[in-house]
Amino acid sequence: MTFFLVQLINGLKMGSIYALIAIGYSFVYGILRLINFAHGDLLMIATYSAWALMAAGVPVGLAIVIGIIITLITSLLMERFAYRPLRKANVETTLMTSLAVSVLLQNIVTLIFSPQIKAFKLPDAVTQRIQIGSVQLQVLDILIFAVTIVTLVVVSFLVKKTKLGIAMRACSDNMTAAELMGVNINHAIVFAFVLGGVLAGIAGIMYSGEYISFSPDMGFMIGVKAFVAAVIGGIGSFGGAAIGGLILGILEMFFAGYLPTEVTNYRTAFVFLVLIVVLLIKPNGILGVSTEKRS
């Protein structure tokens, strides 16, 4: 029973991280139909920024906040210089560009920091273990859950109740109509990248705090998996992306925990298998909203 609980908790943890990333992905995809491969790399930017600041003596809390801000700025720069000029381009072009941006980011970081794997050490107060019932948790784990919940609530509010949030959703739904309503499309898009950047930044710190080792290529894979999660949950919807993330996290952990080791090295392959299966059954994802219009 304990083993099951441990796997579940691990799954929820990873799932939370996936969820935050997936939501950011789906905001940008929803509005621009762009799979931003560089989104995953934002986690890496957040980690490196915070790490460098901590190494320079900046207190942890501040380093993390600044790290997230730097991630946010990177996200905005991406939008402004790589994606905005290509708004009218076709699918292949935007896909390739986002791939190029991802490679670019990874290489810039490699150049500055070297490709070696580093360690992201959070203070002991955060990494110490405490006993809750039959399981042992790190304080960090609790923090991850708490931050995720708070973040989800805040983002949900921003997206449903604020003008920018409504504008962003309108643009995702029907860009032409949104334009006719007098919505400023650029503002809405920027908002999507801002939210995405912040979410990825938070997720990045969580991930590195939990798994400690990081390197320039850490982000891409996670990003792709989070995108898969978003698709599974239904990429049009914010709720769907979140649920997709959680499901994927849990599935991955159970896959790793319960199946023999020969099979578990296929973790990543498994993720894609799940994607293929889900899309075969429900082409718009589990919670996906059909793109068919009623006339």
């Binding site: 109509a177 006719l180 919505v183």
Partner: protein, 235 residues
């Protein structure tokens, strides 16, 4: 209120509008009729700033709006109800209406217009929290018009409101347009359904291949032989 002169619009190499001119006075209802591809929707999209014309002037309430962005044009009170409704079908009716009044800052006016919309279309009030995608075609058209009303239009551009709707529903829609007319809103109506368009409008322009080929009082045109043969399917 609206004065268009020598408007030329290109779609790539095709000249969609070959230099059309027309005007709409305050309080008038003017219709633009013609066959498919004549350039009617293109005209409206150019007026609302979605398409940029090659040459020509568009004068709205004394200002040239050719170089203005869509959201600026909306703020000036020129509201476009697009072809095919284009509602936000993943959002609720309420959210659609909120989006209609997106740039309006006067909360009282917004409240008033909301009431007006519910009076005109009680069914929208009933279904206010439902997703707009679940509405029928006719209801979606009501929503699209209601959305436009939220913006407090000085002039409405209605693009093919009867498109794809059953005859009974078309009647309802035109009843609404009549009410809007009576409320004093200036209307430019684009329609393939020439009958209804001629009946409800004060003046009409007939567009063919991007040119105005005929214009005049609607009541005159209804009786015109040529018009009857070409557009009203009668003798």
């Amino acid at each position: 209120m609206l004065r268009v002169e020598d408007l030329v619009v290109n779609y790539g190499n095709i000249v969609a509008l070959q230099g059309i001119s027309f005007h709409v006075e305050d309080g008038e209802t003017v219709s633009l009729i013609g066959a498919n591809g004549a350039g009617k929707s293109t005209t409206l999209m150019t007026l609302s700033g979605i398409i940029k014309p090659k040459t020509g002037t568009i004068n709205f309430n004394g200002k040239n709006i050719v170089n203005k962005k869509s959201h600026q044009i909306v703020q000036m009170g020129l509201i476009h109800v697009p072809e095919g409704r284009q509602i936000f079908d993943k959002m609720t009716i309420e959210e659609n209406l909120i989006l209609g009044g997106f740039n309006v800052t006067d909360h009282d006016a917004l409240q008033e217009r909301r009431e007006q919309v519910f009076r005109l279309f009680p069914i929208l009030k009933e279904r206010i929290h439902q997703s707009a995608g679940t509405l029928s075609g006719g209801e979606q058209q009501m929503l699209a018009i209601g959305r436009a009303i939220m913006a407090g239009p000085k002039m409405l551009l209605l693009d093919e409101p009867s498109l794809g709707l059953a005859p009974i529903v078309v009647q309802e829609v035109f009843n609404v347009i009549q009410k809007l007319k009576e409320a004093g809103i200036t209307i430019l109506l684009v329609e393939q359904n020439a009958n209804e368009a001629l009946r409800i409008s004060d003046r009409t322009y007939i567009l063919e291949n991007g040119r105005v080929v005929m214009s005049g009082k609607s009541s005159d045109l209804i009786g015109d032989e040529q018009v009857r043969k070409a557009y009203l399917g009668g003798e």
